[in-house]
Symmetry: C2
Subunit: 165 residues, 2 copies
DNA sequence: GTCGATGCAAACGTTTTGCACACTG
DNA sequence: CAGTGTGCAAAACGTTTGCATCGAC
């Protein structure tokens, strides 16, 4: 058991990012899924303000419109949406996974001090990706994890004297 | 609440990596801690086979010698050892955190397909680190997270026909 | 003797699962 | 009607915490 895979980068499903709620819903239908209100509501939440949100936050947004929707339904739908390539999730340090549209894929820099998260262009990982591929036959997926470190503010607050080596 | 910090890279504690169990123990004592058998056993496990191990695995190793040692003790000791700079932990995708000696710090490439983990020189992150610092005032800690992606074997098994686009 | 560490059990937060019922198509 | 999705409750998983006791120095 590895438990590390959930979605395939490269979308062998043939699905891919959807540009709207309806497009995503059509994709779901295409794959034998059904259009339910939970699903539509979740997609609306996802398309509506493309910030990262945890399953819990998304659940709250959905529940604002339909209080009966259970968190487990959110997780199940999130999972399927990811399988279809509509969304991706990333791990931002210690907290819960966050989800966002696949079309707005980007890298993440998370400060270990204050938790601030910076969205950065995948571009930033270009050199790393090249070298990982080159030296290790490993194709980096820059959207699925956060790069941890220290923002300037936190560094200044702490390291007044500790010059790294 | 951010919940992302646990250890400070750069060790403002003045502590740092220890070269042996005894050295680490001395460090613990220096900081007002006491030398207990759980602690010694845990350190032995850590120094003995420097692979990454989860708290649970380390607990199992310690318990092989002292069955009474409780997992919570492992977590507490792991935490303190990390605070002292003796060990570091990293998040390898979805699984539990893994711990290893600070002296053997390196980066991690984890395959989303098969879970294989590659230990890579921190060197690999040089360019990323430089650019993150340069463009975002962000100092990368290359040891605290895993870079997720796809190893060659998994790519070949899947992508036979799916040419990205 | 003092203060820190430990065992235990229980709680925590996030996510998954089994099941019967409701709904979509 | 067939089959998928849902709510619910409970469990799984990794980790943390309160507390009384035990142990190191």
């Amino acid at each position: 058991m590895v438990g590390v895979s959930r979605s395939q980068p490269g979308s062998p499903e043939g699905a891919g990012p959807a540009a709207s709620v309806d497009e995503a819903l059509a994709l779901v239908r295409r794959h034998g899924g059904r259009v339910t209100s939970s699903r539509r509501l979740l997609l609306r939440a996802l398309f509506d303000g493309q910030r990262h949100r945890s399953a819990e936050e998304l659940a709250a947004e959905v529940q604002a419109q339909a209080p009966d929707v259970h968190p487990s339904t959110i997780y199940r739908n999130l999972d399927e949406l990811e399988r279809l390539g509509v969304i991706v999730h990333s791990h931002l340090g210690h907290g819960p996974a966050t989800y966002h549209l696949a079309s707005s894929a980007h890298g993440h820099l998370v400060c270990e001090g204050c938790g601030t998260m910076l969205e950065v262009p995948s571009d930033l990982f270009g050199e790393l990706a090249r070298r990982a591929d080159d030296q290790f036959d490993f194709v980096v997926d820059p959207h699925h994890f956060a790069v941890l470190g220290r923002c300037r503010t936190c560094r200044e607050q702490e390291g007044s004297g500790t010059d790294g080596g």
